[in-house]
């Protein structure tokens, strides 16, 4: 049904988006929690920084990533030297770009869920001898599960669609960084390749609708379990 080419792009997109979501999730949860529950100097600033990738054009984000993470970049050099990690032109780089661009959406969803967790339950857990850390992972975290799921789906969808930052940061390399949107773009721009582009477009849509529906189903199951 799908050509090799399409399978490749699909598999890559899935890998990149999944890794982007999985890797940014812990940070996303942490940042969301801090923004929802803590008061500190510079909170507005942190909030703004988190929102930046939403506001900046992805191409600019990709360019900034390039500045930071390329071989001579401020972060790229030490990462390469000390951890052997290289983002340039690799699917890891695509995942990084996707993660950065999707981050504000993920944080917003999770933050809202944290804000809705009843602090009274957290207080109750404290009186039951739980340290703040235990409260976090036994009470707050499970209660924001729906929000985390929503955040993940949103970030996953956004990652699936990510184009500008990816092509700027890691270019368009088949099998490495050519995700569905990049493949789509090439086809759109190639005269006479519209039908290939349309096929890819449909694959992307089906994929993300599946993700949306799956998350709705998970939410419903989670809710029913408790009755």
């Amino acid at each position: 049904m799908l050509t090799d080419y399409e399978w490749q792009a699909l598999a890559l997109s899935l890998k990149v988006s999944s890794v982007a979501v999985a890797a940014s999730l812990p940070v996303g949860i942490l940042v969301a929690w801090v923004l929802a529950k803590k008061e500190f100097w510079g909170k507005s600033l942190l909030n703004s920084v988190v929102h930046l990738p939403l506001v900046l054009p992805p191409v600019v984000t990709g360019y900034l990533l390039l500045l930071l993470f390329s071989r001579n970049g401020m972060l790229g050099q030490p990462l390469q030297q000390w951890f052997g990690l290289s983002f340039a032109f690799s699917w890891q780089g695509a995942a990084l770009a996707a993660a950065v661009v999707a981050f504000p959406l993920m944080v917003r969803a999770i933050r809202q869920a944290f804000e809705n967790v009843d602090p009274k339950l957290e207080q109750a857990a404290r009186t039951l001898g739980a340290s703040p850390f235990k409260v976090f992972y036994t009470i707050s975290l499970p209660l924001v599960y729906p929000g985390i799921l929503a955040g993940m789906v949103l970030a996953f969808a956004r990652s699936l669609g990510e184009f500008g930052a990816t092509i700027t940061f890691v270019s368009n390399i088949p099998e490495q960084t050519q995700t569905l949107p990049l493949a789509m773009f090439s086809f759109i721009e190639t005269p006479g390749a519209e039908s290939e582009a349309a096929r890819l477009c449909i694959i992307a849509i089906v994929l993300s609708i599946t993700a949306l529906l799956a998350s709705e189903w998970l939410l419903r199951r989670n809710h029913q379990e408790r009755r």
Partner: protein, 357 residues
Amino acid sequence: MLSLKISKQLGQCALDFHCDLPGHGVIGVFGVSGSGKTSLINMIAGLITPDSGSITFAGQCFFDGNKGLNLAPERRRIGYVFQDARLFPHYTVQGNLLYGCPKEEQDKLSEVVELLGIAHLLSRFPEQLSGGEKQRVAIGRALLTQPEMLLMDEPLAALDQPRKQELLPYLKRIAKRSQIPILYVTHQQQELLQLVDELLVVSDGQVACQGTLEEVWNSPAMLPWQQAEGVSSLLLAKVMQQDERHGMTPLSLAPECHLWSSEVSLAPEQQVRLKVAAKDVALSRSKPEGTSMRNIVAATITDIEVLAQQQVMVSLNLAEQVIKAQITLWAQQEMKLQVGEQVYALIKGINLQGVAL
């Protein structure tokens, strides 16, 4: 022993508590809405930080404003039962019960479960419980943390009357068996009578009165409630052997002076508390014969106070305890009652319900 010496400004409301509370028994905390009861026990629990002062419990310092010491709530070893049960919706009942329970104490679960009658609920989620069941689980959860003090903030307030009745016996059981002090916040007289040994009356963010329940009952601090629910007297009595013929129980106030109660479940030699509503006491010059009233006891008038609405409050000395009778002014005038005279106090046995201590 719990020593409090704390002050705190909450919005418009200044709280300032100075008191020493006993290290055992049930200590009632009583006061009108907004008087600061919840804030008080929140400070004890560590959920609110006082502005200054100190809290010391059983030799351990919970809070000291001068030293900048403030023990985290989870390190105070305090069990807290909230008005709203605050069960964790994502844990089953069993999960909730064991949440704060140390591993090595989990064998206590069955004991607590039995005490509270919640064995059949263990695998349910909180959403599937009634209000009363929720509250029982919340109590069990607090007990299972092996606390060294128990705080209960109006644990029955959110329940309707039948649920209240259902839960009270469990609370009594816990109060009786408990080795640790229990601070019990309420504004229900009924709960006080059944549960409390020591009473702290809180008013406007301050301790208005403190002492044993009987001491505080007649003090001016209780006046607002006596007015609302009707004046009553509290008597201490000892249960005597039940009469086999008619099944009633004599409660002895002194040798040769007892009142008959229709309460049958009291064990002999037990100390009981009797609340006698002043409206339930009638007076008679002569000893009436052939009436259904079982309690006709001689008592001496110690005080006569004229109330509003053509009523009179007569205080009587009955075996060195005070008992009050509220009668109409008309009756008092017709009977020409005077302080110092002896009269008969008439009380229907059926209105005397002893509460075991």
